[in-house]
Subunit: 460 residues, 2 copies
């Protein structure tokens, strides 16, 4: 049973035909995302064209019914959970790659294209789209743009916001807007397309994206550097980022991660390792050895215990084994996990990691940190038993303190996951009152009735 106004349901059924779903079973499939939160929408719409998307928003606006855009629901913050019910708009049928222009370093796509499908289509052109979230194989470009998805490569190539040229979108007022141009430079009025990136479907529904592509490097080489402690590793990160050869990945693991990878995952790591960096360079056969040499030099300093280089792709896989052993190993500690992706300036990684370990002690819960060190973007994983009410409460309290710590260190709440439901209550700590008020007013311009993804990103 749908709670939509009958007139609206009829109108949208006529508009969308077979792309209009109100069966409870089908609605359930669009009720959740990777945050494990869940809320049943009143209906699911699968538009095939921008005209359908625009007509849908206009109809919902007239009835003040919520509209929640959805890629494939891989986000971790609850941003695609329809907490106020209404219509979930899934872009799975708008999944065409419309154009690839290699000389212009540009691809034009519909929002429902999977990141992984796009990379496959770009490979024969010698190009790639930089955002590489863990979910890349099954997350959409539209969803990547909505939360400003990043990934390990962002340290060299930027996140989603840095890799989009233009967007066509339907605002909450039902207007079709065209933001930016498919050129790599532009200074023509207000920069609206970057404003839409990371706005989590609260301002407009993206119906077409012109993406900025990068020529694919021919090869990559990995280094694994093990350090005595976090400080030594963080100083190495600062040295690595202050020299001209930017690594194509620069991943960090703290002492509990290293221990887990060794003891549970069976990774080959020294017993006294207090921190680990995975460092990668990419380039061509001629210059890659020099790049690796420059990175090895920068990685070397007081507190380095071991530096291993992968001579080939198989050796690279062996070096990455420690990182890959980590996620399964985490599950052995506790059934539940809160994974938040705070960011601090690179120089503040040591006080962040130390502070997190102090919180782990204070709240008597294991917390491990790993992630994208070159951007200061650490994934803080707090492990607990969700069936244990006291633990759950402590976990929430500890995570609130992690956010406060990151903000104190000049950082921010999220580097690539976004705010969604998970962090919106912390927005007033991260963003000053006048700035937050301005954000609310901007939201009201794009979405005067407040129908787009209500309850997300901005606090009540």
């Amino acid at each position: 049973m749908s709670a939509l106004p009958p007139g609206l349901a009829q109108e949208l059924a006529a508009l969308l035909g077979e792309g209009w779903r109100t069966d409870p079973g089908e609605r359930l499939a669009y009720a959740y995302d990777n945050s494990r939160r869940e809320a049943l929408p009143d209906a699911v719409a699968l538009p095939s064209t921008r005209e359908q998307a625009q007509a849908l928003v206009r109809a919902c606006r007239a009835h003040r019914v919520p509209v929640v855009a959805r890629g494939r629901g891989t986000n971790t913050t609850g941003a695609s959970v329809p907490v106020a019910a209404g219509v979930v708009v899934s872009f799975e049928r708008m999944n065409r790659i419309l154009d690839i222009r290699s000389g212009d370093r540009c691809a034009v796509v519909e929002p429902g294209v999977l990141n992984g499908e796009l990379q496959t289509a770009l490979a024969p052109h010698g190009l790639f789209w930089p955002p590489d979230p863990t979910s890349a194989a099954f997350s959409t470009v539209g969803g990547n743009l909505a939360c400003n998805a990043g990934g390990p490569r962002a340290v060299k190539y930027g996140a989603s916001r840095d890799n989009v040229l233009a967007l066509t979108a339907v605002t909450g007022a039902g207007e079709l807007i065209v933001c930016g141009t498919a050129t790599t430079k532009g200074s023509t009025g207000y920069d609206l397309h970057r404003l839409l990136v990371g706005s989590e479907g609260t301002l407009a529904l993206i119906v077409e994206a012109s993406l900025r592509l990068t020529p694919a490097p021919q090869q990559r080489r990995a280094l694994r550097a093990v350090y005595r402690d976090v400080s030594a590793a963080a100083r190495a990160v600062a040295r690595l980022m202050a020299q001209p050869v930017t690594p194509s990945m620069l991943e960090f693991m703290d002492a509990p991660c290293v221990r887990l990878a060794r003891e549970v995952g069976g990774a080959d790591l020294p017993a006294d390792a207090g921190a680990l960096l995975m460092i990668e360079a990419d380039g061509d056969a001629a210059t890659l050895p020099y790049a690796v040499e420059a990175l090895a030099r920068a990685a070397t300093g007081d507190g380095l215990l071991a530096l291993d280089e992968a001579a080939d792709e198989a050796a690279r896989e062996r070096l990455w084994a420690a990182r890959k052993a980590l996620s399964p190993a985490l599950r052995t500690l506790a059934p539940g996990k809160i994974n938040e992706d705070v960011v601090v300036p690179v120089s503040r990684i040591p006080p962040l990691v130390d502070g997190v370990q102090a919180l782990a002690q204070e709240f008597a819960l294991p917390i491990v940190c790993f992630g994208h060190a070159g951007n200061g973007n650490l994934h803080v994983n707090l492990l607990y038993d969700p069936a244990d009410a006291a633990q759950s409460e402590r976990a929430q309290a500890a995570m609130a303190r992690v956010f406060a710590l990151a903000l104190d260190l000049g950082g921010t709440l999220s580097g690539e996951h976004g705010i969604g439901l998970a962090k919106r209550d912390f927005m007033p700590q991260a963003v000053s009152a006048p700035t937050l008020s301005l954000m609310r007013q901007l939201k009201a311009v794009f979405d005067p009735e407040g129908i787009l993804n209500p309850g997300k990103l901005l606090p009540d």
Copy 2:
């Protein structure tokens, strides 16, 4: 004689002390910019602190008096000319570099710091700030941000908008907002700081900027490639941009430019040259030869007449002589020049250049094109005699057609100069009506009384 309300003049004189100027001679010094347009402000304010800037905006808002932010007036579009009079706010006293953090790749500056001064201060840290407009020695960081300044290096390192992490600013409502964080990744709410970049002082006054820095390459090497015609050069540009070694500069000159450089400037260029590319790579001693080799390979193809490499810095200067001979040579053609910086996708450079030459014929005026080919950002220079009314009229009409041509080719009005007064009447052609309406509404949120730089960027 100032036309300001007496109460406001008294209040601001008390607020700013010696930093408040109403003498006509002093006002005249702030009346113009490099567009050669001119309009006398009622007063000039030289704030020393953000608190003064905020109090000033609040006072002006109460009296609905225009506030026009100004760096050093080097912009070419009239964006800093106070056409509605009011108070010009010059940031020349807010010119401190507050912090340089090399490990974080970040500098924190006040808006009045000169771009050139900043580069000098960064050099000992082995870092630079990428925007390199021609005016770098005497233009301010605040002004660079206001118009999203670029320059030749933007092809590899981005323009101003790509190189800022966070901004503190005073809105037209007199609110102090803090946009972004000084981290290289962020997904916390709406992206306001990039919205302020390129907004030409119409949304807020920037009072502090956290800039994204890049490690300075150790060396550079230049290639000069001469082609039979524009098509051959443009195909080379597409090849250069589709391979992984991004040039640090990729500058284009069309046939009339080459002819002028040879015949008037005395540059050593073949007589049958139809187009020229200046190609530069940067890097370290070990890898630079490979980069130059990759660029030379990409530059080579049908229609290449000559490819010269500069073995050292002196040879590099000789290769650049053709480019440097150009500006003085242009002056021999006509006393007046309109220089606009349209952008098209790289693949559309040939129809842009051909179309411009057709317009030169149609309007019987010399037009030459040169500029930043790797971004498709060409400077279209139309030469005429401003004392000749018929020529002036033809020049305006021809430039309107140049804009229409760039838009037809999927491009935009400006790559790095901005809109200001010069191109605002063309905004309705470049930006769709619903999008322009949205821009106006956003402006009203930031600046409810419309006091910030009235008459600029958005058309009436």
